[in-house]
């Protein structure tokens, strides 16, 4: 199954009433959705609320998801519309805002960098985030070269396992293993700093 098919299989199960399947979809996309909304909304708490709202709307509308597009495309569209509705609502209330005009949801340029989620707000949160960043940087630099290269090509360049295999001149199974082992090693190093 492709990524889209994997998601659609989970959607199909969620439609039949399996909430755990929807849990997996939330786990996979919740952080990306928050960063997307943070491009429109400055208040971190409001970002979390709207991300939550996005998934609630998606869950309620699951029966209407026809599968013409990928699940994440559909969820992103809901997230953008939810953020824009919030901006429009704020504007009507006289609080804000320079809302992007024209174009479809997909073609609108994001309003800003997602600064709302940059440091977590409070001094304690900022300090914790800095510690976490340092721990991740250190763990990455400690990785063996082949693991670090595979992980970097995946996360920074967005290459598929096939493409990484071609770049590193190794079997795709090796790529799969290297990326997994890199993540395992980093995870162990950052565990004390993860919070949440």
């Amino acid at each position: 199954m492709s990524a889209e098919e994997n998601d659609k299989a989970l959607v199909a199960r969620a439609r039949k009433g399996d909430r755990r399947a929807f849990d997996l979809l939330v786990l996979k996309y919740q952080h990306r959705v928050q960063r997307l909304i943070a491009r429109y909304i400055r208040d971190p708490e409001l970002v979390f609320d709207l991300a939550q709202e996005t998934f609630i709307k998606a869950y309620r509308a699951l029966e209407r998801f026809r599968g013409d597009s990928a699940f994440y495309t559909w969820v992103y569209r809901i997230a953008v519309n939810t953020a824009k509705n919030q901006l429009a609502s704020d504007a009507r209330g006289g609080y804000m805002v320079s809302l992007n005009s024209g174009g479809s949801d997909e073609s609108d340029e994001p309003m800003m960098e997602p600064e709302a989620l940059r440091d977590g707000g409070t001094p304690e949160a900022i300090a914790a985030t800095e510690e976490l960043k340092t721990a991740i940087d250190r763990a990455i630099s400690d990785l063996p070269e082949d693991l670090r290269t595979a992980l970097t090509l995946r996360e920074m360049e967005g290459l598929s396992y096939d493409e990484i295999a071609a770049v590193m001149d190794c079997p795709i199974g090796t790529v799969r293993s290297r990326i997994f082992r890199a993540r395992e090693a980093i995870e162990q190093s950052i565990e004390p700093f993860k919070g949440d």
Partner: protein, 229 residues
């Protein structure tokens, strides 16, 4: 946490990594394995998101919203949930149990049907056993003979009109179905009772299927049907 991680099967953690990267060639069994350990998936995906986010220079202060989302989903009325609030069985044992109940019900129905057919064949009308319908029984029954005697007793004059038949017969009445003059009407012999052929053979053979009243009023009614022939 480390204890938990150490106890987790490596194959599942490997699967989560592939799934996160959209490089997962899943079968149903692997999907079931992931669904059975949502907490494990949750811990892994948080780490993977932090690692990827840091490498891409993205903000890291996202929040795990699963609990709050689930709390709100719990408030949604069953009727508004996907699947109409159906609950999916968490184990295959439940499905197996349901399947056995259905199989039992179907077996009981089949047994009851076979028993009913068997009883009918062993205790029912002998003519049915011989492959004949009751209306095809050999020779007239006592009831047949009584009806025929009643009909033959009412002799009709030649060329009798329906009105005359109605006046003569003791039961029923003629339905005036044609405007053709009485003289032009020629009724079948069995309808007038003029010949020795007896009453309408259709009535004789079928009246037992209907009410006795219908059987005795049949010839008069059929006289109108054959009106003009």
């Amino acid at each position: 946490m480390k204890q938990r991680q150490a106890n987790e099967p490596t194959i599942l953690r490997d699967t989560i990594s592939d799934w996160w990267d959209d490089e997962w060639q899943a079968d149903e069994r692997e999907v079931d394995a992931l669904l059975a350990d949502v907490d494990g998936v949750r811990a892994r995906t948080r780490s993977y998101d932090l690692i990827g986010g840091r490498l891409r220079g993205e903000p890291l202060a996202t929040r795990d919203l699963l609990d709050s989302i689930n709390a709100r989903l719990d408030e949604i009325p069953d009727a508004e949930r996907p699947g109409g609030g159906k609950v999916v069985a968490l184990s295959s044992a439940r499905n197996w149990q349901n399947r056995r109940v259905w199989q039992g019900a179907m077996a009981a129905s089949l047994f009851a049907a076979v028993t009913a057919v068997g009883l009918t064949l062993s205790t029912g009308d002998r003519t049915a056993v011989n492959g004949e319908a009751p209306m095809q029984a050999e020779g007239p029954t006592d009831n047949d003979r009584a009806v025929m005697a009643s009909l033959n007793a009412q002799k009709m004059p030649e060329n009798a009109s329906p009105a005359a038949i109605a006046a003569t017969t003791q039961q029923g009445r003629v339905i005036q179905a044609s405007t053709i003059s009485n003289n032009a009407r020629k009724l079948p012999d069995w309808a007038t009772g003029r010949s020795d052929a007896g009453p309408d053979p259709y009535v004789v053979t079928h009246y037992r299927m209907a009410s006795p009243e219908f059987g005795t009023t049949g010839p008069e009614a059929r006289a109108a049907t054959f009106d003009g022939k």
